[in-house]
């Protein structure tokens, strides 16, 4: 799957992933009204609004970007109907030819991590039948529990041709509280970076990139520079662009000299573009076109930074 991701990034000339992290306040009123009209002010109604909203965004950007990243939390907050909308979103995006990175940040140990890996990337047996429960192409994983928590995921990556992005240095202000701690000569994020390199060593595809990638926030460009060198075969998923403050020029360090090695996420900067300048002119009815324009602008911002 990492080979397909690299190929699609090349083909579309867009190292960009659209974060499908809807919040009720991002949804244009006409979509909410229609969903509530059909299902009432229920969890089902909220979930239906999310899915309809996502379809509009996906239809508008599918030819421009290689991948989307739905954020599980936003769906879980609407209970089981919300989780159904998460699954429906995954299926819809895959049908549209998009690669799906499930932002689930799961992590546990042994048989429990194996269950998460089956849930999100693999298959389960039910009697004589086999099912792929959520069937994302990639998912994000938390490393705090150590190799026991990661190995079940890499096993499934090998078996099912999927991939993971391990949290290394996250984009938030307090990420350094643990991740920047110096253990001997190294920051904890460097130790995790080395582990990512080793976890992914035998999962390198024909593109030369590994199925095990890393999450490193755009808000820490100097850290990105260090980690890019430490993880020469690991793709970096870069959150924190746009709304969180990361700019195109901050991203240069996350890429290699060929302009590969990183994929940058933007969520509200794209899906909620219609609510802010310079896209407010599209209006609520034009929310999907506003998202398309925001993707085009982001593509240009990154291309200029890489070529500048």
């Amino acid at each position: 799957m990492i080979d397909k991701l690299v190929e699609e990034i090349r083909k579309k000339q867009a190292p960009i992933v659209v974060g499908l992290d809807p919040q009720p306040e991002f949804i244009p009123p006409q979509i909410t009204e229609e969903a509530f009209g059909q299902y009432g002010e229920t969890l089902e109604g909220a979930a239906a609004a999310f899915f309809a909203f996502n379809k509009g965004i996906v239809d508008a950007v599918a030819d421009l970007v290689p991948a989307v990243k739905p954020q599980s939390a936003m769906y879980e907050q609407f209970g089981v109907p919300g989780v159904q909308a998460y699954k429906d979103t995954i299926d819809y995006c895959k049908k549209k030819g998009l690669i799906v990175i499930g932002d689930v940040k799961r992590g546990d140990i042994g048989s429990t991590s194996a269950a998460y890996a089956r849930a999100h990337l693999g298959t389960v047996r039910v009697g004589s039948k086999t099912y792929a429960p959520f069937d994302e192409d990639f998912c994000t994983v938390n490393p705090y529990l150590g190799s026991d928590g990661i190995r079940p995921f890499t096993d499934v990556c090998r078996e099912c041709g999927k991939g993971i992005f391990v949290l290394v240095k996250t984009s938030n202000p307090s990420s350094g509280e643990l991740q920047d701690r110096l253990a001997g000569e190294q920051a904890l994020y460097e130790i995790v970076g080395q582990m990512v390199d080793s976890w992914g060593a035998d999962l390198t595809g024909s593109s030369g990139w590994s199925a095990v990638g890393a999450v490193v926030g755009a808000t820490y460009p100097e850290t990105g520079k260090i980690l890019r060198k430490m993880m020469p075969k690991n793709y970096i998923l870069v959150p924190g662009y746009g709304a969180q403050g990361g700019k195109g020029r901050d991203l240069v360090h996350f890429f290699d000299k060929d302009g590969l090695g990183a994929i940058v996420n933007s969520s509200r900067g794209i899906i909620a573009a219609w609510q802010k300048a310079p896209y407010a002119g599209f209006g609520a009815d034009g929310y999907a076109e506003a998202a398309r324009k925001a993707v085009t602008d982001m593509k240009q911002d990154i291309a200029e930074a890489l070529n500048g």
Copy 2:
């Protein structure tokens, strides 16, 4: 909720939580057959078998223990129907008067962590209505992203009278890869232990215990001793008893001098007791009675260790 947990532990004289972590191989054949008979060999069938199995266990142990801990991964592996069984299990356990600790190990940043907190412990607005999506009493949380990831949970704890258990030192063999790293004079788990103490400082209930607890594995009793002292007001949820090798005598250090301050989890040692000596005599039909006997034995093992 921490006050209720402490009260129930006292009343039932059982610092024990039953881990509802079903796996298909733990389910007696008669339950699986009935579920498949009704739903076929589908995700719905697997989920129905889990829920029926759980009901049997819960009915057999509800008067003996204060709390249960369903493990989200085991349900997620059966997709949306599995997540529905997770929710049904929570509701059933609460109806039976049990406190529910959702073992979800979620963790993210800012608005995303807030969405997880609402999903599992809080409420969401849908138009003019309010819903409690999963409505566990406690949930487990991963600290790798720092305070930004925890604060949304403590906010919901305050608002809705719920609690969390933060992963500090996990029970698995490789937990030390990151958690034992020395940062200056302190191991990382000590740093996280101090953070747990401070995150929970203004959430202390009438019992004197905080709504913010910690997860510390039974397999590391010496670490438990250190952390018990560092976190004088934080309850410790202790996994790793039984199947993972932790014994009653290892648990002493996790408790304070009054025999409070810790609650010990056992999952397969109880729910799959019927498959192993000395409980195999109960047979598949007696799986729930086997679980009850295993709880009674565990209670005695811990009581002897604490009084010994």
